[in-house]
Symmetry: C2
Subunit: 217 residues, 2 copies
DNA sequence: TAGATTGTTAATCGATTAACAATC
DNA sequence: TAGATTGTTAATCGATTAACAATC
């Protein structure tokens, strides 16, 4: 059905999913692309185009069934699968992310955590015990995880990524500033570059303040 | 000089900044758009177009002076300014983000942290003591921060954002799933939607695995 | 049936890439 | 001067929006 859907469309799917879930929780049974577009700040055209990348889920004259569409999008994203994920780097950020994130509802299960710091090794994050990074191969080789979450410094990243790719890991949730896609075009990397995001905010706040306080409307 | 540069260009600035910094640290004095494009996985055209949104920083036949360009981009992003930022929500994620992030090098200084949880109030994050969220107005009114970092649950967000906007806060680093831009088009919101990012990775990993293991090249 | 709303094709818009004259 | 590389204009590409026939 989906023959290489463009990344902008894919990145909108989680947002559709969230809005549909909320509608569902509020007991809304059906919704038209026009109504949804007003709620989400998109055009109705875009919503229909986006959804039709994956199939015709609506019905003329009626709109979309909220629950059916919600479930369809969940299936499209593959959230039901629970692939294995490991965390590399159990510092502040790594621990917070893995405690904060509900992996199960996003298609993953956290099965291993690794760090270089001997003070962290042996401690627990949720159900999982932090292992020494030297155990990485022993743990992963028999059963390589689908993705690795990288919460490690930039300098440590090249060697770790190399080891993980060699082990067969093909997906990265990358919080480091190492450019995985550049060096390994065959893998998938989702970057969360917090520093870049904050820098962008800095720029945009500056721009906003340059404007002489836009009058309302 | 810059008359409303497009967001895609702005979002590339932090990446240029990082690459230039690294070149600088490696003692590289000058670089051409062609050379930089190969290192960054962009086209030389795009680099020149991007930079020329802000001014002509290069020199024909020579290229760009690495240090000068680095500093120029820092100025463009406004990283030297150290505007005040507060954190709302000092849970796992909020604490990790504020400990992990070097605010000073991204144009901000963290001056206040707030939470509802009385067990957290009084504890410290770095130099800053966590205050009760009820102190928000008392703290902000005399001297409203430029931005607020939101690490709070979706349900808490509408009320908090309303209070912050009323106080004059015009920028948000938004880790919550509340859609600020939709409700307050006059403010700037940078979203970090970790859940959406992980869901996107889930989709992309699925797509990758559907492919019958692309041969090298 | 009439009204509503989809799925889809066509038009528009914006961003990226290519080309090249200007110039260091 | 000759070679290199920019800044900038023009061409291309892709994504968004508009339009509308199909149809529930």
């Amino acid at each position: 059905m989906s023959k290489n859907v463009s990344l902008p469309v894919v990145r909108r799917l989680p947002r559709y999913y969230r809005f549909l879930r909320e509608l569902m929780e509020n007991g809304v049974i059906r919704i038209s692309s026009g109504d949804l577009s007003r709620r989400m700040g998109l055009t109705a055209s875009q919503i229909r185009q986006d959804l039709n990348c994956f199939g015709g889920f609506g019905q003329q004259g009626y709109g979309y069934n909220v629950r059916a569409l919600y479930e369809e999008i969940g299936r499209i994203m593959g959230l039901g699968k629970h692939r294995e994920a490991i965390l590399v780097g159990a510092g502040n950020l790594g621990r917070a992310v893995s405690r904060h994130m509900d992996f199960a509802s996003r298609g993953f299960a956290l099965t291993g955590v690794f760090d270089v710091n001997p003070e962290l090794v042996g401690r627990q994050i949720g159900e999982v015990v932090i292992q020494d990074i030297r155990q990485l191969e022993a743990f992963c080789a028999p059963n390589p995880p689908a993705v690795a979450i990288l919460c490690i410094p930039k300098e440590a990243a090249p060697a770790i990524v190399k080891r993980l790719v060699a082990l067969g890991v093909r997906g990265f949730w990358n919080f480091s500033h190492y450019d995985i896609a550049l060096h390994y075009p065959e893998v998938v990397a989702e970057n969360v570059h917090l520093g870049d995001s904050l820098s962008t905010l800095c720029y945009r706040i500056n721009e906003l303040e340059k404007q002489p306080a836009q009058p309302e409307e």
